[in-house]
């Protein structure tokens, strides 16, 4: 099993790279015959990734959520899986490469730096922690996708303002759709993060003796959550729309990434994994 995990760990970035390459080629050439091929290849990549996550859980006797680099591979899966569902539901096929590249980056970093941990703290085997982390990761996948669509919105907005009618103009869906995709992804991300925070607030004080509400990770996560909450409320009430909404989503994503890096690598937190 360990060998299978090691081989899959090497192959996964290659699978994501191949999916990205097909989506990129289709974005440039817009060949009708490729539109189903690329979706099929992404599906196979996700099936293979599912196998990897299960194999890893079985081989090391704990879910792959005990280190940053294990989290990264789950995040890579969550982002592409969420996009795959979104593509199936909306049938908007021109944006995949911008999302899959995020999974490619996360998976490549994970594959390079991941370590095999056989012995982990008992708290990391808790079911509640599993639910907490699962919601947090899917939530982060949601805000990641929201930020990508926000970024695409800004690219198309800029091209439209400058009368540039190239590939971005031709291949991307219209501004309103991009705004909607960004907003709905943010809502889903926000709800899932709310659940993750809720579980965390109830369970963490019991699980960690050195727990503090002023922990930098908690404060940063709460700030990200608050920012999205304000943005979503403003959008629903009609006070914020268009460019400002997507800019807020991108800022929220930047803050989330920044807080993850700071709290996991620089600051001392009970919330760091090792």
């Amino acid at each position: 099993m360990k060998n299978a995990v090691d081989i899959a760990n090497i192959l996964l970035p290659i699978f994501y790279l191949a999916s990205f390459a097909i989506y990129l080629y289709d974005f440039q050439k817009d060949e009708r015959r490729l539109s189903n091929v690329k979706r099929l290849f992404l599906f196979l990549t996700l099936v293979f990734h599912t196998f990897y996550l299960i194999a890893r859980t079985v081989a090391f006797n704990h879910p792959p959520i005990t280190s940053v680099f294990e989290i990264f591979t789950v995040l890579a899966f969550s982002v592409s899986f969420s996009y795959f569902i979104l593509e199936l539901v909306t049938d908007i096929r021109g944006t995949g490469l911008f999302i899959i590249v995020i999974s490619l980056i996360f998976q490549t970093i994970s594959s390079v730096f991941i370590v095999d941990l056989f012995q982990v703290k008992e708290v990391l085997r808790s079911n509640l922690l599993g639910v907490h982390v699962l919601h947090a990761l899917l939530g982060y996948a949601g805000i990641t996708i929201s930020a990508v669509y926000g970024f695409l919105y800004l690219m198309l907005y800029k091209d439209l303002k400058l009368n540039k009618f190239g590939l971005i103009f031709e291949r991307l869906p219209n501004l309103e759709i991009l705004e909607k995709l960004s907003f709905y992804s943010a809502i889903i991300g926000f709800i899932l993060l709310s659940v993750a925070i809720g579980i965390g607030v109830i369970w963490l004080p019991k699980a960690f003796p050195d727990f503090s509400y002023l922990d930098p990770k908690l404060v940063a996560t709460f700030l990200v959550w608050l920012l999205y909450g304000i943005g979503i409320t403003a959008k629903i009430s009609g006070r914020l729309q268009g460019k400002k909404v997507v800019v807020l989503s991108i800022i929220g994503f930047g803050l989330a990434i920044f807080s993850t890096i700071v709290t996991n690598f620089l600051a001392k937190s009970f919330h760091a994994f090792y």
Partner: protein, 426 residues
């Protein structure tokens, strides 16, 4: 195949001449009757704003292009129409031309969306007049297949190639559902009218128009379900519109940047599209610097048009391949209508049956009887085929590829189910 065609079109004649030659549906019906009486055994006429074309299978070999040209000139009483204004086609080139026309690659606007429907109507008129026989009906089938394949297998008709349609295409890159949007078209000249029509066709939620001469606006409004705003007061309502298209002939700006700024404030800064398709411009181009204002003028729309025209031109080789495939298929079928291959196919067909039956039963006969079996079955087949073969040879003596011989041969092939086999042989 002796299909004859003459064409006066945008390659050969200016618009004034094309207008004079243009035939209405009623005229086409009358002309078809006369062509049938004088020149053709089967035929059809295509007449659109960019072309008038006569196609037909001559009753006798002596029918010349000049006779057909004179027929048209005399009927329409046009004095300045000369031989140089006509293109002439025969047989394969006539069919090739028809296929190019129906595929839209001979159109003034390459990939024209309307031509397929217009040619279909021409076919229907010929059928209505019982002027479409065995061969012309086959020509119709092939031509319509070319038209449909060009639309579905290539992108020859994709993208806007007129300024007013490019404006609508651009609007669709900003808004997802036009039925929830409101639009104002300022100026009801030809360009403004077409733009308003495009918006109506795209099911815009609310369409308003304004024009200096209110009577002109009134004439157009009912046809496109538009409200009319008095020209003197339309600026009071600017904030109500998501899309503003301006196409007046005003020598000065009619909307300034300050007016747009005020409008955006009233609209709560929601996205607004300004399309200035007037020359000289109607809207201050500086308005493009305002957040959430998408301003486009003729120059920027022309970029889209030129880009799409180039893309359509790049698709022409793909369409030509389709035409080539269909020409090969058509002439494969047509050549199979010659006498010699038909006799051979018919004999092969019978021989196959004879052999299969003999093979199946020969073990029930002694060695000596097997030879007799071969002999007897061959003699039966020869006797059965003697009369049909003699009749087919008589057809050949009437001349190769006459409509009558082609019809008879096609009937034989259909009856004995040998059409497909010979097509694959070609």
């Amino acid at each position: 195949m002796n299909l004859l065609a003459i064409s006066i079109n945008h390659h050969t004649a200016p618009v004034t001449l094309r207008e004079e030659v243009h035939l209405s549906t009623d005229e086409i019906k009358v002309y078809l009757d006369e062509l049938k009486e004088k020149y053709f055994s089967e035929g059809f006429i295509i007449s659109t704003c960019n072309r008038t074309e006569l196609y037909g299978l001559p009753k006798d070999a002596g029918t010349s292009y000049m006779e057909l040209e004179n027929f048209l000139v005399e009927k329409k009483a046009i004095t300045n129409l000369t031989d140089e204004h006509f293109q002439k086609f025969f047989s394969c080139s006539a069919l090739n031309h028809l296929f190019k026309v129906i595929a839209g690659i001979d159109s003034m606007l390459i990939g024209d969306n309307q031509i397929l429907g217009q040619v279909k109507e021409s076919f229907q008129l010929a059928q209505e007049k019982q002027f479409a026989g065995f061969l012309v009906n086959r020509v119709f089938d092939s031509a319509i297949r070319v038209g449909k394949r060009a639309k579905t297998e290539t992108t020859i008709s994709d993208g806007a190639i007129t300024v007013s349609y490019a404006a609508v295409q651009l609007i669709e890159k900003i808004f997802s559902n036009l039925s929830k949007k409101s639009a104002l078209v300022i100026g009801m000249g030809e360009t403004g009218k077409i733009a308003a029509q495009h918006l109506h066709d795209k099911h815009i939620g609310k369409l308003s128009i304004t024009n200096r001469t209110i009577e002109k606006a009134e004439q157009i409004a009912s046809a496109i379900d538009a409200q009319i705003l008095p020209f003197e007061r339309f600026k009071e309502h600017l904030a109500d519109f998501d899309i503003i298209i301006s196409a007046t002939s005003s020598p000065n700006l009619i909307l300034t940047k300050e007016e747009i700024k005020t409008m955006m404030k009233k609209r709560g800064n929601t996205a607004t599209v300004l399309m200035d398709i007037a020359l000289p411009r109607d809207i201050d181009p500086e308005a493009r610097s305002i957040d959430n204002v998408f301003y486009n003028d003729i120059d920027s729309l022309n970029i889209i048009v030129e880009h799409n025209v180039k893309k359509r031109k790049d698709e022409i080789p793909k369409v030509q391949n389709i035409i080539m495939e269909e020409l090969i298929s058509f002439f494969g079928w047509y050549n199979s209508l010659e006498v010699a291959p038909t006799i051979k196919s018919l004999r092969d067909y019978y021989e196959e049956i004879r052999l299969a039956e003999v093979e199946g039963y020969k073990n029930k006969f002694s060695k000596e009887d097997q030879e007799k079996l071969e002999l007897v079955t061959k003699r039966i087949i020869n006797k059965l085929l003697h009369h049909p073969t003699t009749e087919l040879r008589k057809v050949a003596e009437q001349g190769i590829n006459t409509t009558e011989s082609a019809t008879k041969i096609a009937l034989v092939r259909d009856l004995f189910g040998i059409e497909n086999k010979s097509n694959t042989d070609v």
